[in-house]
């Protein structure tokens, strides 16, 4: 299963406030970067700890 993460930053923010997760399914997740108790964020950090790097924000 191909999983990608892309950091996202709106024009109203100076830094990325979320990361967009996509995989083979049709469901996408916009994950906030400001809550360690968000389980999607925990999963993202595990993915990063495993040596992966998200795509940078535009």
């Amino acid at each position: 299963m191909a999983i990608t993460y892309k950091l996202k930053k709106s024009s109203m923010q100076d830094t990325a406030t979320s990361v967009l997760r996509e995989d083979d399914s049709d469901i996408k997740l916009s994950i906030p970067l400001n809550d360690p108790n968000n389980t999607d964020y925990q999963e993202y950090l595990e993915w990063v700890d495993a040596g992966n790097t998200p795509d940078p924000a535009d």
Binding site: I3, S10, N37, T39
Partner: protein, 497 residues
Amino acid sequence: MPSEIRVNKLNNRSGLGTITLYDGGTLMSGIVTATSFNGSLAATNLTGSIDNARLPNPVVKNITGNITGNVTGNITGNVTGNVTGNVTGNVTGSGANLTSIPAGNLTGTVADARISTLTASKLTGALPAISGASLTGVTDTLSFRRINHNGDCSVAQRGTVTGITNGTAANLCYGGPDRYKLYVSQHGTYTTSQELDAPDGFDQSLKILNTSADTSIASSARLYVQHKIEKYDLIRTKKGTSGALSLTAQFWVKSDKTGTYIFEMWDNQNNRHISSTYAISSADTWEKKTMTFAGDTSGNAFAAANTSGIDCNWWLAAGSNFTSGSLASSWTANTDANRCVGQTVNIGDSGNWYMTGFQLETGSTATDFEYRSYGDELKRCERYFQLLLHPDDATEDIGAGFATGANEVQFPLGQFRTTMRANPTVWQVTGSNYFKIGGGNLGGDKYLSASWNINSISKVSGSLYTDPDANLSSHANQMGSIQAKSTSARLGLTAEL
């Protein structure tokens, strides 16, 4: 000088009595009248019948035979035989051997009665109204007994979810009834759905359907349905204290596969677990299962926190890494090999599994299922997931947004319907023309086909943004209605444990 007359028999002059003198003694017959007898007469020598004897008090000391008449005086000794008549006086001795006393005859006060073996079958009459004012030892209220959410599987905001398999993101493993997650590790692919199939008293259930079989189960394979409970809701269990309470689980279950299954509780805080087997004995038939787990006095107690406390796991398949030890039938520190010992069923090589009527409560008794209104249950589920649009509506106004520039549309979500467990993830299905912004100065349809992203978010409110299909430079800072334009569109907030 003594004299004697030796005769054989003396006859009364009227023939009403005789005295016969024989070698063995004297025999009197007929009417005998006397005012006194001298000497001792052994009771054993009184043979024959004495009718209508009048024995004034306290002549009689011991009667070893039967008394068939009435006793109008007092009996101060023991009665070791049976009394078949009425006793209208007081009985001050022991009643240890009184039996078969009709309840209707117990009209007085029974003081300090000790009823230690009264069974429910003996309480056949109607109980009078009993005040609960002085009841003691009542450990819980009748309401809010059920700790878990969506036990009747009535809330299913996400709808059917397909393709759950190894590597699926945790939050994408939720489908069908809210709060139930299918955990899959190296073992097949599945669909989870809400079904209108349930035993009497329920209408809906969770269904797990294997859609891609794995006939060779790996040693590390795991497949279980999981209901995760927040620590806030587990403080009442007193787990990790000397007063830890038992937990009782009940649920209805059916499957096309008979055999032995495992229900497990996993303590996320202390990595401790406990398991119980249950059997499905008839294929495709609803069966109710009940099991009680002793309180766990070890480990740290649950504090008020929004993180995961206990997971309830219904195992549907397990590799040998989880079946090769001895079943953890009491709370213990984690040993994987002891988690699922005895599981004989493998839903991963085909099959289905249904469940509803799940209730987890403190105590060792499975009380009646605690029903809640749909609205109440939905509200509880929305702490973990909120759907922001109705999937049946082809066109639905879901809020107001504005263009911040040529390539960005902001969508403030406003206040959430309930405070969420954590800052939520935005769960979505987007696609070509699935959303649009329009109306007001924005004029006609400006479609939004790209993904929604979080601009800012907290547990109670947030705002999203996306890239519009068209250049909106001429509409900067103009507002419009945000609409869902496809029944395939999905937008929700998830903060599952």
